[in-house]
Symmetry: C2
Subunit: 429 residues, 2 copies
């Protein structure tokens, strides 16, 4: 667990990794704000452009050039303000040159703290950098900062970013269902909403929050945890339409066949003759129409769901800011190879605290949805799931809106940090 | 133009038609509220279940049983509160029995005013009922009340419902673009957002409001008005990615090939071997990847866009309420075969008034997007389009939010009106 060696004064580097969330920049803003409050203990606060790629390329920006108002505006803007990346550092054996380069960049800019804001892979990367930088004689204090819409980090109660995509999903299901309900008599009878979640049904489960009473939408949820049984599903749709008059389905993009293949990759060609990638939502919808004759509509919100800052969860936004603030506090306190995680203290009202956990306990693990979160018939969520999920979408954190009727999102120009090293070409891409 | 024969006292029937909008119930609530204020002049306020189908079936509800709070709550709920339908009455020659049945229902319930809330077809239906009911000896005063996300009604400046779908579209494009922008360096380079609009590019044009400066998203808009030129489009995507680093595309579901076919119907089979219906968004995205090699993501919001009451335009919600209120005032004033339309008085700040227009001038016409709204290269909107569109998304009209983190939408139980006639089977369905 956390070491408490007092770090030498120096600069802090923050970077963002993996798919953005609606609130990842709430974390970024909180990091910058907390570090500003720690002036004297922390020197400059740099951010890497496009995550670890920017660190490798020495492509850094100086957040000190941002006004407090600009930092606040970044905090309510979706996307990853400093750019993100999909790039995983391998082990020291395979990628010694990359670790040496990173340490050279850190040394050149007197970077003593590295805060990496991401999911599983980033926790792993942070953990490795912490260890290897010490081996290379320039020890960096690494703090992983949690972020992922997938909600698949272990130890922490939830991952900042998940609560907002969950809220978008539940709100959208409730709204679209009201639309379908009012047209079902003479038009669309089955609506299928595809949601993200390649490996676990967390977001699909969140759709379940849209309904509380029996026969409220969504009537059926297709989880990646439950192999798709076409005949059983069609029977359930038919029974729902005959009982309720219509049927709303939430389907996870990660829905699999009984033999373990993603339905979305099971095939088909589009109008141009290309293999159809993705789109399990339309597949399910068309299946229903072909076999049961019901008119269908389907939606795939895709990036809309994870960037919908306009309907962010207040709880989620607060947690995103809290982990950013804590990460800086841990850095100042000399902790290393830790991640601020959320611990649930109570369900109703939801109370939570932030505490440090060792990156080693988090990296390379994946939190699955508990089996008792899925209803016995496989098509809905249980009260246990509801108790867990409900608090995460509570409260609204509206961004300020501009006179143009759009959220006042900010993409300030950043001040580049002057490079001190020769250029570097990244291998293994 | 409006006749001013004083109608006999009696009851009012309101019905909803066609695809719901985020604000159609703001109109419904305003109708009920205005009619309550006109007590003494208007008797009971009935609503037909599922539009004209409910009128034919004598399936009516008495809105008098709703509390004022319930009416207000309906007003901020998406979907069509009383149910809607896709059903067009034919001419008197083909459907004499249906008109006779309608008049019998109106007579049985002393309905003297019929307010039909819909688009083109509903304006036509209202106009016919007005004429034919007089011929059948029980003259009904008919008021068409505008509603359609398609924005294709003539005479009126805009159609209630369009401003909110336009706002959802512009907000979503801005948010998703921030996501793509931050990942483009190592992941998705092209994002394609499909929007509604089978025959006209109004909603696609609204996506253009997301960007103001050159090279702000959306970089390319594919309008149904401009035949799809694959080679030219791919060249434009490539140039955008090379210049900006990524490319966001808005595509109308109504995009057509040069020979006039919908791209979405151009073919392809899904994983189950069924013909692929719809989904021009994924088609375009996959085309880009197949020909240019860029990683893509795509979204099809479908019903999410027209039911997104949580991000409704305040301007739109106000106009929806204003046409409902005016419709009742016109009814009380003895007008017939008219529709309250929106007249634009000024662009900035947007000022508008409501005035009556003859249904005969509106029914069976379709408002096309002016040619000078589309940029010369065919891939964007002009300043003229922006001047027209910008006011329509201004202001936010948030619904109240519940403690569960979801909008507090209302679906009260309605009090059925006792039937006085024998049952009726609807032909021509």
């Amino acid at each position: 667990m956390p070491r408490s060696i007092r770090p030498a004064p120096g600069n802090l580097l923050y970077a963002q990794s993996g798919g953005p969330t609606a609130v990842i920049n709430a974390t970024a803003a909180a990091v910058i704000q907390a570090a500003r409050r720690a002036r004297g203990k922390i020197g400059k606060v740099y951010a890497a452009r496009n995550g670890i790629l920017g660190a490798l390329r020495e492509d850094l920006v100086d957040t000190g050039a941002l006004s407090d108002a600009e930092v606040r505006a970044i905090g309510h803007t979706p996307g990853a303000a400093f750019g993100s990346c999909r790039f995983k550092l391998k082990g020291i054996e395979d990628s010694r040159a990359q670790y040496e380069r990173l340490v050279a960049v850190f040394r050149a800019h007197d970077i003593r703290w590295f805060l990496y804001n991401g999911g599983n892979d980033s926790a792993d990367t942070s953990n490795k950098i912490s260890r290897i930088s010490a081996e290379l004689g320039f020890p960096i204090h690494c703090i992983g900062v949690p972020k992922t819409v997938d909600n698949d980090l272990v130890v922490t109660d939830t991952c900042p970013g998940f609560g907002s995509v969950a809220k978008f999903t539940a709100v959208s299901m409730r709204e679209a269902a009201l639309d379908v309900r009012s047209m079902a008599e003479s038009s669309t009878k089955v609506f299928v909403m595809e949601v993200m979640g390649r490996h676990a049904g967390w977001i699909a489960a969140a759709a379940g929050l849209a309904g509380r009473k029996p026969d409220e939408a969504p009537h059926l949820i297709l989880f990646p945890e439950i192999p798709f049984d076409e005949a059983r599903f069609l029977a359930a749709v038919k029974a729902t339409v005959e009982r309720v008059g219509w049927c709303a389905v939430a389907v996870s993009e990660g829905l699999k066949t009984a033999d373990g293949r993603f339905l979305a990759e099971a095939g088909g060609k589009d109008a141009f003759g290309h293999v159809q990638l993705g789109g399990v939502g339309p597949q399910i919808a068309q299946l229903v129409t072909a076999r049961l004759g019901y008119k269908n509509h389907w939606s795939v919100a895709d990036y809309l769901q994870r960037s919908a800052r306009h309907v962010a969860s207040k709880t989620d936004a607060e947690q995103a800011a809290a982990v950013g603030k804590a990460a800086v506090e841990y850095a100042v306190a000399g902790m290393n190879a830790v991640m601020p995680v959320i611990r649930r203290r109570a369900n109703a009202p939801y109370r939570w605290t932030i505490e440090p956990a060792a990156l080693a306990d988090i990296a390379n693990h994946e939190k699955k949805m508990p089996a008792d979160f899925i209803r016995e018939d496989g098509y809905g969520i249980t009260p246990a799931a509801r108790r867990y999920l409900a608090p995460l979408i509570q409260g609204e954190a509206f961004p300020p809106w501009g006179p143009d009727g759009l959220p006042a999102y900010a993409t300030p120009r950043f001040k580049a940090v002057r490079k001190r090293l020769p250029g570097y070409a990244i291998a293994d891409r």
